[in-house]
Every structure is written in structure tokens, then in C-alpha cells.
């Protein structure tokens, strides 16, 4: 194997495709990748079949970059399969690392989602009340669909993961650092997040002062001062609690950090950390005043947990009746 190029696999589970574009966004450097690796599986750009992977030896793939969250049986199946076949499994991008956008579905449950998507949404026409079934019999035989989970999970909640590469999508510079580390073999200890252990504020060139937030504004409501910390101007910015590595791109163009690089090293719950940060600097003396200021922040749960709800401490919303939600690979209900 010494004179052979290491084998690389790339896969997308529940994701938007942005991570794939990000790899292509390496531009000419993609050639370095192609030169350094033998790409053995990449369904987005080349025609591979699952059977090709199944036919591989265990551990035959040297590195697998896996993007996307785990939202259905198929995602989980591929996660297990690629884990088995790969020496190094990288959770690539915010969805596989923290659950990200698909993970926001954990604020609802499968039942509610199906109800909305297949019945209630204004654009739905479904007179026969058809909902997806795992198995349906048709004249031609049996049709199967992957089971849709009640709870979205991260890759690491399903299989052991060696490295995490944050970002929605990861910046080209971050991917380069990761690839170079893999090629050179100078890898951090397994389980590490590849990236700096400081937050976005460190990279952000805006002037920071002692903060006192009187109210929050939405981005369209004000023209922020170009040089002053956005949070101090009342614009939500998760940069205080988000791992850097992105170059503070969003704050530098006047848009608050949304938190896509996830929590800083050692932090258990990204949303909780953003919240303690901003709650600490509200210009309030009483609980009522604090509440009034927080009321000016729309959809706080969405702001705080945009990228890390499934791997937060609570993981998902409970049922209205306070009962625990079924989590994990329970298959979807059969219609009554």
C-alpha cells in the first residue's frame, strides 16, 4: 500500500449539498486532492452504487468525509457501512457534526411534520391522504422507502467519529487544513474538532467595548456602524460563543455570526453558551426588564440552536404532554 495513493470517500446524508459544493470550491486545489487521493466513492459527482461500497474490505477506505445529519434509515445504514469500511471517518460540516438545519426538525416531531407536509401546507393537494410508508405493495411487487426518524441525530450519535470539521459549509481554508493534516499524518488526537480553540470574536476586527444591550434589532432594521461590535449595536451575533476558523466573514460584512462553526472547545451546549453570553450583558436590573429585552429577539430557540440542537444537552423538544419523545431508530408509525 506504500506506493498506493490513500483512498478517499465522500458521502452526503441529510444535507443541502452545500458541503459538496464547498469541496468543489477548493477550485484548483481540488486537483491536489485528486492527486493526493484515490477517490473511491463520491455519489454527488460520480456514479457509484452502494454495492460498490459493500463489496469493499473493512477499513479499505483510508478517509471518509461524511456530510449531512442522520434523519432516516438510509442515512444510518450508510453511516454504519462507511464506518465499517473506513479507517478515518470525518464528520464533515455542521449537519453531521451538530445536526444543523435538518436538526431543527427536533423542535417538532414526525407526526406534526407529516401532518403539515402531506396535509396542511397550502401547497399540498393530497385527496387520498397518502403518507410515505416504509413498505407498500404495488402490482409490480413491494416498494420500500427509508424509515423517517422522529429525531434527527448527528453522525457521532450513530457511529464513532474520528474527527469533526465544522462549518456550514466548512470554509475552503478549513478543508485545506484538514486535508493537509490527513495527508501529512499530523492529526490531532481522535475525537478532536479540527479548528482553532478560540471564538469568532478573536478573528473579528470590530471594536469591542463593555457591552450593554438595550434591545435587539433585526438585520434589516438598522445600518450598523461599520467598526463597532455588532452585538453591542443590538444585532444578534453568535461570534462570542462560536469557534473561529471562518475568518469572521459574516460580522465583517455587517451580519451577525450565526454560529455555524459550533461551540468552542470543551463546551457541551452551544445554545446555552450563546445565551449565557448575551444574557450576561442585557442592560437590565430586574427579571422583567431582562425579559422585555429578550422579547425583542425573535425565535430565540432558532437563533441559539440553529446548528447544534441534536447535540445539545436536551437534544429535542419534549412532547406537549411532557412525555419523552421516542428517539432513535424507531421506525415510523403505520397509518391508523
Amino acid at each position: 500500500m506504500s506506493n498506493q495513493k490513500p483512498k478517499l470517500a465522500l458521502y452526503w446524508a441529510s444535507s443541502c449539498g452545500g458541503c459538496e459544493i464547498a469541496v468543489l470550491g477548493l477550485h484548483e486545489k481540488i486537483l491536489n486532492v485528486a492527486e493526493a487521493f484515490d477517490i473511491v466513492f463520491w455519489p454527488c459527482v460520480m456514479d457509484f452504487k452502494y454495492a460498490d461500497v459493500e463489496a469493499m474490505e473493512d477499513g479499505e477506505i483510508d478517509v471518509c468525509l461524511f456530510n449531512g445529519a442522520i434523519r432516516n434509515d438510509e442515512n444510518a445504514h450508510m453511516a454504519h457501512l462507511l464506518r465499517q469500511k473506513s479507517k478515518v471517518l470525518v464528520a464533515f460540516g455542521a449537519c453531521s457534526y451538530g445536526g444543523s438545519m435538518p436538526g431543527l426538525a427536533n423542535f417538532a416531531d414526525r407526526e406534526a411534520m407529516f401532518q403539515w407536509i402531506y396535509f396542511d401546507s397550502p401547497s399540498t393537494v393530497n385527496p387520498d391522504g397518502v403518507v410515505p410508508q416504509k413498505r407498500s405493495d404495488v402490482p409490480e411487487g413491494e416498494l420500500r422507502l427509508p424509515g423517517f426518524w422522529n429525531t434527527v441525530k448527528t453522525l457521532a450519535q450513530v457511529v464513532p467519529v474520528d474527527y469533526f470539521l465544522p462549518g456550514c459549509p466548512p470554509e475552503a481554508s478549513s478543508i485545506e487544513i484538514a486535508i493537509n493534516a490527513i495527508v501529512s499524518g499530523e492529526l490531532p488526537p481522535p475525537g478532536s474538532v479540527i479548528g482553532p480553540d478560540v471564538t469568532v470574536c478573536d478573528e473579528c476586527s470590530r471594536k469591542k467595548s463593555e457591552k450593554k444591550i438595550q434591545r435587539f434589532y433585526r438585520p434589516q432594521e438598522i445600518f450598523p456602524d461599520p467598526d463597532i461590535c455588532l452585538l453591542e449595536q443590538g444585532l444578534f451575533c453568535a461570534g462570542i460563543a462560536t469557534r473561529s476558523g471562518c475568518g469572521a466573514k459574516c460580522p465583517s460584512v455587517g451580519f451577525g455570526c450565526r454560529g455555524c462553526y459550533g461551540p468552542n472547545e470543551g463546551v457541551l451546549d452551544h445554545g446555552a453558551k450563546i445565551l449565557t453570553g448575551i444574557a450576561s450583558v442585557l442592560d437590565a436590573m430586574t427579571a422583567e426588564e431582562a425579559e422585555a429585552i429578550l422579547d425583542t429577539l425573535p425565535d430565540p430557540a432558532g437563533y441559539l440552536y440553529r446548528f447544534h440542537l441534536p447535540d445539545s444537552l436536551l437534544r429535542r423538544k419534549a412532547r406537549g404532554n411532557g412525555q419523552r419523545q421516542p428517539v432513535g431508530e424507531t421506525s415510523q408509525r403505520e397509518p391508523a
Binding site: 478560540v198 471564538t199 457591552k211 462570542i240 468552542n264 472547545e265 470543551g266 457541551l268 453570553g277
Partner: protein
């Protein structure tokens, strides 16, 4: 690091714990917890045998960590830390599980439940303790100078004790003279000493003491620094009199044409001039000009005082002076304020002429007061034939203050004596309970009863001048239910004295904030421990004494003043103090400089280092409260002894299945 070796000790606390918790079982069970090499139970861990057991085991079993499951760490954490230290183990390698307050006492009816909870608490402590790190106390040097704020009897006592011991004191007093409330009194209970006779020599000593710098007519504006090294900014208000030239002869105030009601020293009963000295024995003896009331500052004319001053000491253009003091310790002795009796409208103070407050009466009966000590009605000449003294006005009353003002029973008895002695009038005391509880006080109560004062037990509902019978005509009628005979009574009198309660100073909150001292429910300054540490506060190097800590009489104020002085002298003679090493530190390499933490610290311990763009904790100011640790969104502030790993391990440990010994959830 070699494998941790933990010793666990489960205390019976006599029956306190063992009566509910199965102590033997907990000790036996704990032996199965990871890293535990010895686990024992003991009747009284805090007794010398218990402590010696720990010391012996540390040596014999090579223990690296110790857990004692017993009472609250408030009680005995120090005890066991010291035991560890004696055996050569760093005292912070110890952890305490509270299975008394948290298990046996609160679950007395559920023995199994209490035992299981005790097991979970022990498991949490064992799990946590192996993450403990050895810590060393921080030594800071102590400047020998002391600041005393407030020149009442408590402050005077504290200042003299320290100055007599040979160390320098700055005594800051807001008014033009020291003396506080005691200077207003004629006699003091229970001995009826003349107040001035016992106070004046002390005031004089303060004024003349080479080790005391007296800053009267002054206030503290700002406090920086920490124990041993405070920097204090004091504003000396311009008194417009050059103290180097003034001899205190009094020509100026004799000639000053402006007469003003003196609401401070004379309690509104007497007058003073626009240039004044509050009372003849004032220390210092120099007058000050009350600028807002002086004609010259209003109209540009007069300057009478300047004309008559034989030494040309008047300086109309004098400015406030700001001085910076460097001190090692601070004692707050800012005293109390009298409850405003107008707040009880049914007692008629301010509306009914001959209703007086206690402080007014003190001035009335004082030989140096406005009536030269004659007890007379508001008309200034008629002596009363009958006097009612109402106890507990504004105290022990849910509508005003729930606390007992501690001195009013006794001052009311004193008033009864003075009225009977000076006027022969009939005196009625209206009380709820008599609480003469210090040395000689009960005897004083009996003496006043023997002298013929009447005592009526009941809360006065109203004082009125609406007569219902001829004998009530022109009198004040005190209406009350006499609870001893179960009857409504109306007692007509000529004069009423309201024994108004003692309240915190109006600015106690603000003053407390400046010095890092909290105010409790009643608004008085909060001591570090109500029983065991009554003159210390949560801020190291800041002490409290006298009536600012709670209502109290002169003997107690003096005792506290002396106690605070002793505490200060203790630190001065040691030259340095050891501070608890439980403090926050910021990992500067990883601080993003977001500045979220900057104004979080209640002790102003965090600075932003502009050049490096990072924040930094001043360890001497930090109290280890953990506020910033929680706030830092980068999670780069570590609270020593409360690290992330320690807290998570404690949580993991408490989630143990107490029926076996497996964790309930996997470690995160």
C-alpha cells in the same frame, strides 16, 4: 499521575445522621466505588479521634484524596482540610458530602430514601474529588493604616483601639463633628451616666491622638483595591474656615444673623446659625459654613463672620479637597437613622403638637439642649403633668419594620425616670413586651416600676385630641387595648413620647455597594456569619461595627468597635493574610476578547488588557463567586476548585444507581 487512592469517612453525628441514614451500609457500599481504598464510619468525625483516623489513614494507605460524608461544609470543611494538611496532604484534595442537612435532617421520615440519597452524595464526592488539584493560598501584604468610616461611639472606639496599639487610623465623619447619636443624649441607660461625661474624653482623645487623622465634614467617594491594599478617595467638603487659624472662639456664630432649624443634632427642636459648630464639645472645635443657607453665597452680601473673626480664619473661596488614602483595612461604623414617626399617621406626630420623638426628648432633657434641660411642652414653658411613652414605634410591626430595635424599651425606661425626676409628672409606658435583656437592665426596669411609672401592655391604636369626656378636654388621648385586663383604655396625657425604632441609614445600600458589603432583609449591613463572625463581611478587609450592623445599644456598639479593631490588628501584626485560592483565572491564549465578562464581576476584579485584547482577573479581588466562569461564552475562565471537569464528575457521580453501584447514564 499514579492511580488515585480515596479514603471515605461516613459520620454518624451521634443520632443526627445515624438515626436516619444506615451509616454502616453507606460506608460498606462506598468501598466498591472506583478508586476508594478505605471506607469507614465514625461516631463523630469532627472529634479528635475522627480527625486522627483520617491523618493515620493518609499515611498508612497512601491516600491521595479524602471524602468525609457528614454535615455542611460551612461547619467543618476547614476542620477536615486541616486534618489532611497535618498528614501532609494538600487540604484541597478533600471533599465533603453533606449527608446531614441534605439527607438525614430533610428525610427523617424516609430511612431508605435518606440512605440512598446519602450513597448518591458520597458517590458524587468520590467522583469529583479525584479531579481536585492541590491549591496554595495566596499571600497578600497588609498595609498598617486603617480607615474607619463614621465617628459615632463604635467608630471612636475602633479608632482609639487601633491608634493606641500604635497604628495609624483615618477617621472619616460626614458631619462637622464626631460623636454620632450618643453626643445628643443627656443620660445613658442603665446607669444614667451623663452621656457627655463619658463621651467627651474619648472624642477629645481622637482629636488629639498622634495616630489618628480626623477627616470630618468628609465622605468616601470611591474605593479600589483589595484587602491589605485599598485606595480610598475622600472628599473633604469646604467648611470655609481655615482650621490652622481658627481658635473656635465662637465670635462668628454669635454674630451670624441667620438662624436655621437644626434637624441633625437638635433633632429639629433647636436652632443653629449658618456658620456653626454642632455642639459645644464638638471635635474638632472648628465651625463650618452651611453654604446653601449662608446669605453671602445667596446675595453676595453679609460676611459678618469674616468681620468679627479675630484671626481672619474665614475663607469664602475655599474649595472641596479630595484626598487619596492608602489603607490595609476598613471598618464601617456608619450607625443608624431614627424611624420617621410621621409614617404612623394615627400617632399624630407632626400634627399633634405635643407628640415628641425619642430624639426630640433627648434634646429636651439635655442640659445643653434648646430648653436647657427643662422638660416642657411645645410652648416652651408648661411642664407636663402626665406623659405617655409609646414603645416599639415602627419596630416589630409588619407595616414598618419587623425587627426589634433593641434599645427602645430601655430608652423609654430612661425617659420615664427623667420625666418623673424632673417634673414629677405621672408616666404611662405603653409596651408590647418588655425586653430589658442585658446586664443590669432588668434591675433598671424594676427600679423604674418602683419609682411609680405605670406600665400598660398593649399596642396603641391611636393618639387623638378629640375629647370624649371633660377630663380628656385639651389633652392627648392614648387609645389602646390593655391586654392584661382585656379592656379598651383611653388615657389622657399632656405629652406623648414616641420611642421610634432604629433603621438603617438611608444610604446604606449605596455605601454598602461601594465597600462590597451587602444589606440583609432589614437593610442593615450583613456580617459574614451571624454568630461566629459578626464583625467581618464577605469582603476581606472590610469590617462592620455598631448600629450599622443592626440595632444595638452603646455597650454592644463599643464591644463591636473593639472587636473589629482586634480583627484589624490581628491582620496587621501578621503583616500578610492568606486568601482562599478559590479564584477564577482566564486562559489568555484562548480569550477572544469579546468583553462579555467585563462588567459581570460583582467585585470589579476583571480588567481588559487593551494591548493584548484579552481580559484578566485580578486574583486578589476575585472572590471565586463563579459569575464570570458561567458567563464566558468561550468557556475559557476556570474557577479553581470548581472546574468544569470537577462539576461534571460530580454530576456523573450523583447519577449512580444506588441499589447497585453502576452509573445511571454514561458519562458525557
Amino acid at each position: 499521575m499514579s492511580e488515585p487512592r480515596v479514603g471515605v469517612y461516613v459520620c454518624h453525628c451521634g443520632h443526627n445522621i445515624a438515626g436516619t441514614v444506615d451509616v454502616e451500609h453507606v460506608a460498606e457500599w462506598a468501598l466498591n466505588l472506583p478508586n476508594v481504598v478505605v471506607s469507614r464510619e465514625n461516631k463523630f468525625m469532627c472529634a479528635s479521634t475522627g480527625q486522627e483516623q483520617v491523618e493515620q489513614d493518609i499515611k498508612e494507605f497512601d491516600l491521595t484524596h479524602v471524602v468525609v460524608a457528614s454535615c455542611s461544609p460551612h461547619m467543618h470543611e476547614k476542620t477536615f482540610r486541616n486534618a489532611c494538611a497535618r498528614a501532609g496532604l494538600n487540604p484541597y484534595m478533600f471533599e465533603m458530602a453533606n449527608i446531614r442537612e441534605h439527607a438525614s435532617w430533610v428525610h427523617a421520615n424516609d430511612k431508605d430514601g435518606a440512605t440512598n440519597k446519602a450513597k448518591a452524595l458520597v458517590s458524587a464526592a468520590v467522583s469529583r474529588v479525584i479531579f481536585h488539584e492541590p491549591l496554595e493560598p495566596m499571600q497578600v501584604s497588609i498595609r498598617p493604616e486603617t480607615l474607619v468610616v463614621g465617628g459615632g461611639i463604635a467608630g471612636i472606639q475602633a479608632a482609639l483601639e487601633i491608634a493606641d496599639a500604635g497604628y495609624h487610623v483615618y477617621l472619616v465623619e460626614r458631619e462637622p463633628s464626631i460623636g454620632g447619636h450618643m453626643a445628643m443624649f443627656d443620660k445613658t441607660f442603665p446607669t444614667l451616666d451623663c452621656s457627655a461625661c463619658i463621651l467627651t474624653p474619648k472624642m477629645f482623645d481622637v482629636g488629639a491622638h498622634p495616630n489618628i487623622t480626623l477627616l470630618t465634614y468628609s465622605e468616601v467617594e470611591r474605593v479600589d483595591g483589595y484587602v491589605g491594599n485599598f485606595t480610598v478617595r475622600v472628599r473633604k467638603k469646604a467648611g470655609m474656615v481655615d482650621q490652622d487659624l481658627c481658635t473656635g472662639c465662637g465670635s462668628c456664630w454669635e454674630s451670624c444673623p441667620i438662624r436655621i432649624v437644626d434637624n441633625v443634632f437638635e433633632a429639629g427642636l433647636g436652632h443653629r446659625k449658618a456658620i456653626y459648630r454642632p455642639f459645644p464639645q464638638a471635635v474638632p472645635k472648628y465651625p463650618v459654613i452651611d453654604v446653601p443657607n449662608c446669605t453671602y453665597y445667596k446675595s453676595g452680601k453679609c460676611r459678618m463672620c469674616e468681620k468679627v473673626c479675630p484671626t481672619n480664619a474665614i475663607r469664602f473661596d475655599m474649595q472641596d479637597e479630595v484626598v487619596e488614602l492608602e489603607v490595609g483595612n476598613i471598618i464601617l461604623t456608619t450607625g443608624f437613622k431614627l424611624f420617621d414617626a410621621r409614617r404612623v399617621p394615627n400617632y399624630g406626630y407632626g400634627r399633634l403638637e405635643n407628640v415628641f420623638t425619642s430624639l426630640e426628648f433627648e434634646r429636651l432633657t439635655n442640659a445643653a439642649g434648646p430648653t436647657e434641660g427643662k422638660i416642657v411642652l411645645r410652648d416652651g414653658e408648661t411642664p407636663p403633668q402626665s406623659v405617655a411613652i409609646i414603645h416599639c414605634v415602627g419596630s416589630r410591626d409588619r407595616n414598618y419594620n419587623t425587627h426589634c430595635s433593641a434599645i427602645c424599651c430601655m430608652s423609654s425606661l430612661k425617659f420615664a425616670h427623667l420625666v418623673m425626676e424632673k417634673t414629677g409628672a405621672q408616666v404611662y409606658n405603653f409596651y408590647i413586651d418588655m425586653r430589658p435583656l442585658h446586664k443590669g437592665y432588668e434591675e433598671f426596669y424594676h427600679r423604674i416600676m418602683d419609682e411609680g411609672a405605670q406600665f400598660i401592655r398593649g399596642k396603641v391604636s391611636e393618639i387623638t385630641d378629640a375629647a370624649r369626656s371633660p377630663e380628656e378636654d385639651g389633652k392627648l388621648v392614648v387609645v389602646c387595648e390593655d391586654t392584661l385586663i382585656g379592656q379598651q383604655r383611653r388615657v389622657p396625657v399632656d405629652m406623648v413620647i414616641l420611642a421610634a425604632g432604629l433603621e438603617p441609614r438611608a444610604d446604606a445600600q449605596a455605601v454598602g455597594y461601594m465597600f462590597g458589603v451587602g444589606c440583609g432583609d432589614t437593610g442593615f449591613f450583613t456580617e459574614r456569619h451571624p454568630k461566629l463572625d459578626p464583625v467581618a463581611t464577605v469582603t476581606e478587609g472590610v469590617f462592620i461595627a455598631g448600629a450599622c450592623q443592626g440595632a444595638k445599644d452603646i455597650p454592644d456598639s463599643v464591644a463591636q468597635g473593639a472587636a473589629a479593631a482586634a480583627r484589624v490588628l490581628g491582620t496587621i501584626s501578621k503583616r500578610e493574610v492568606a486568601l482562599e485560592p478559590i479564584r477564577a483565572t482566564i486562559d489568555e491564549e484562548r480569550c477572544s476578547g469579546c468583553r462579555i465578562c467585563n462588567n459581570m464581576c460583582p467585585y470589579h476584579a476583571i480588567d481588559f488588557i487593551e494591548e493584548k485584547g484579552v481580559s484578566r482577573v485580578n486574583p486578589a479581588l476575585c472572590k471565586g463567586c463563579g459569575t464570570c466562569v458561567a458567563a464566558c461564552p468561550s468557556q475559557v475562565i476556570t474557577g479553581a476548585h470548581f472546574t468544569f471537569d470537577q462539576l461534571m464528575a460530580e454530576i456523573d457521580g450523583i447519577l449512580v444507581d444506588v441499589l447497585s453501584d453502576q452509573p445511571i447514564v454514561e458519562a458525557v
